[in-house]
C-alpha cells in the first residue's frame, strides 16, 4: 500500500516535470519563428524604440526560463526533506 502511494506520487511528479519540460521546449523552439515568414512581425521595432520583437523575445525567454525554474522548485518540494540522496 505504502509502495503504491509512493508510485502514484512519483507518477504525479513525473507528469509535473514533463509538463515543465514541454513548456520549456515549446518556448525554446518558438525562437525559430524569427527565421520563418510566420515570425515576420518579430523583426519589427516595438513602437518608437529601437528594440525589436526579436530582441525582446530573447530577453523574455531568458527571464521566463528562470521564473519557470523558480516555480518548479516551489511546487516540487514535498519530498525534499534533505534526508535522501546522500
Amino acid at each position: 500500500m505504502e509502495d503504491e502511494k509512493l508510485r502514484a506520487a512519483i507518477s504525479r511528479k513525473t507528469r509535473l516535470r514533463l509538463a515543465f519540460t514541454v513548456v520549456t521546449l515549446v518556448l525554446y523552439f518558438a525562437f525559430t519563428l524569427n527565421y520563418l515568414p510566420l515570425g515576420y512581425s518579430l523583426s519589427q521595432r516595438i513602437g518608437d524604440s529601437w528594440i525589436t520583437g526579436s530582441l525582446a523575445m530573447f530577453v523574455l525567454l531568458i527571464i521566463t526560463f528562470i521564473v519557470l525554474e523558480f516555480v518548479f522548485l516551489f511546487v516540487d518540494t514535498e519530498d525534499d526533506s534533505g534526508a535522501g540522496g546522500s
Binding site: D3, L6, R7, A9, I10, K13, T14, R17, F20, T21, T24, L25, Y28, F29, F31, T32, N34, Y35, L36, L42, S43, Q44, R45, S49, W50, I51, T52, G53, S54, L55, F58, V59, L61, I62, I63, F65, I66, L68, E69, F70, F72, L73, D79, D80, G82, A83, G84, G85, S86
Partner: protein
Amino acid sequence: MRRCILRLLATVFAIMAVNSSAALAAETVDAAKQDQPLNLTAISLFLVFVVVTLWISYWASRRTQSSSDFYNAGGGISGLQNGTAIAGDFMSAASFLGITGLIFIGGFDGLVLALGAFAAWPLMLFLLAKRVRNLGSYTFIDVISLRLERGPIRIVTVTGTIAVVVLYLIAQMVGAGKLIELLFGLPYEAAVVIVTLLVMAYVAFGGMLATTWVQIIKALLLIFGATLAAVLVMNQVGFSIDKLLAGAVENHPRGESILSSGVLFKDPIQIATILVSMMFGTLGLPHILMRLFTVPNMREARKSVFFASLFMGYFYLIIIILGFGTAYLLYGQPEYFGPDGKLIGGNNMAAIHLANAVGGDFLTGFMSAVSFATILAVVAGLTVAGAAAISHDIYAEVICKGKPNPKTELRLTRATTLAIGIIAVILGIMFENENVAFIATMPMVVAASVNFPILFLSLFWPGLTTRGAIAGGIVGLVAAVGLIVVGPQVWVSVLGHDEALFPYNYPALFTLPLALVITWWVSVTDRSARGQIDRRNYDELLVRSEYGTPDKPLKVHA
C-alpha cells in the same frame, strides 16, 4: 607538495618572463600579434590569479585523501557554491568572446548560441538534477550502469565521455594557445604548456575541491568584469538601451538589419539543429553532470542548478549590452582594425577591444586575465571528468568490479590526470594550424547523440535494455561524427571540397532522434534474459531516483 607547487610557480613565472621578453621583440609573429602590445596589467592580474589558485590547490591537496574527495570534493560543496562553479565551468571563452564576437559581426543572430547555451539549464533541473543525484556516485555513467549491464554499458558510455572530453580539450587548448599568444605575446607552444601545467597542478593535487574553487573565482571575476564593462558601455549612452541600439545601427555596416534575424543565419532548419545540439549537448556533458555529485543531497543539487541558471541568465543578458556595445564603439575606430580592414586579432577579440574602448588598459588587462582564467577553469573541469572516466568508470567499476584498492585508485586517478595533461599538450600543438571550428562543434553533437539519449531513457523509460542503449549509443556516435565530417566545416573547410554532402554544421537535429529510435527499436525487440533484468531494475530504482532512500537496500541486478 609545497615545494612542488612553488617549483611549478617559479617555472610558470620564468616561462612567462622569458617569453614575454621574446614577444616584445618578436618579428616572427603575424601582423595581428604585432599590433597587440604586451599588456603588463593583464600579466600582473593573471599572475595574481595563478598565485591564488595554486594556493587553493595546496590547501585542497591536504583535504583530498580519497577517491571520493578527488571526484566530488567529498560531496561537501553547498548549492550556491556549486551553482557558481557550474556557471564557471560552463561559461567558457566561447561564450564570452565568441558570442560577443558574433554579435559584433551579425547582431541579433549571435544570440542564437547564447539562448542555446542557456536553455539547457531548466531541463537540467526538471529532468536530470534530482534523479541523477539520487542514483549516481561520481559520474553520470554510475547512474546508467546501476540499471544496465555494468561492463558493456560503461565501455560504450566511457567512449562517449572520452570522445567529448578530448574533443572539448582540443578546442580549449587551441583556443587557449591562440588567445594567450595574442593577449600576452607568448609563443603558442608555451601558452599550451602553461595552461596544461597549471591545470595539472589544480587537478592532480587538489582534485574536484581545487577545481571547484578555481571555477568559483573565475565565475565571479567574469561576471564582475562583464558587469563593469556593461556599466561603462551604458555610461557612454546615458544608460539608455535605445541609444545603444541606435548607435550600433548607425555605426554597423549592416545597419538596422543587425537588430533582427538574417545576417548570419537564414535557414530555420539550421537554427533548429543548432538549438537541439546546444540544449541536449549540454545535458550530456560529463564534466557538467559530474558537478551534481559534489553537493551533499538532492536539495542542494537542485539549488545548484537554479543558482547556475541565475548567474548564466544574468551573464547572457549582459552579453546583449557588450555585443551591441562592440558594434557601437568599435566600428569606425581605425585603431581597432588592421590594414586589411578586419578587427585586430579577429572577431573573437571584439570583447577585449571593447574593454579597451571603455576601460582603457586596466579593463583590457582584467578581461584578458579573466579570459585566460576561463580557459583554465574549463580545462580543469574536463580533466577531472576524463580522469574519473578512466580510473573510476573503467578501473574501479569494470576491472575491479566495483571493489578497487582505494590507494591504487587514487594513484591511478592522479596518473591519469598527468596523462591527460600530456595528451592535451600534444593535441594542442598538433592542431595549432588546423581549423578547430568543427572540433568545437563535435563535443556538443556527440554528447547530444550518445550521452543524453542513454541517460534520459535510463531515467524515464522502463523498456530500456542494455542492448538498446549500446546500439543507440554506437549509432549516435557514428552518425554524429559522420555527418560532421561530410558537413561544411570538415568536407569544405578542412578537406577542400567545393560543396558539403550534408548542409549543416550541428547535425544533432537528425542524430539525436536517430539514436532514440534505434535505442527504442532494439530495446523493444530484445527478448534476452538480460533485457528482462534491465526492465525490472527500472522499477527497483524508481523510488530511490525520486526520493533517495539510501537506507533501503537496492534489489537491482548488476
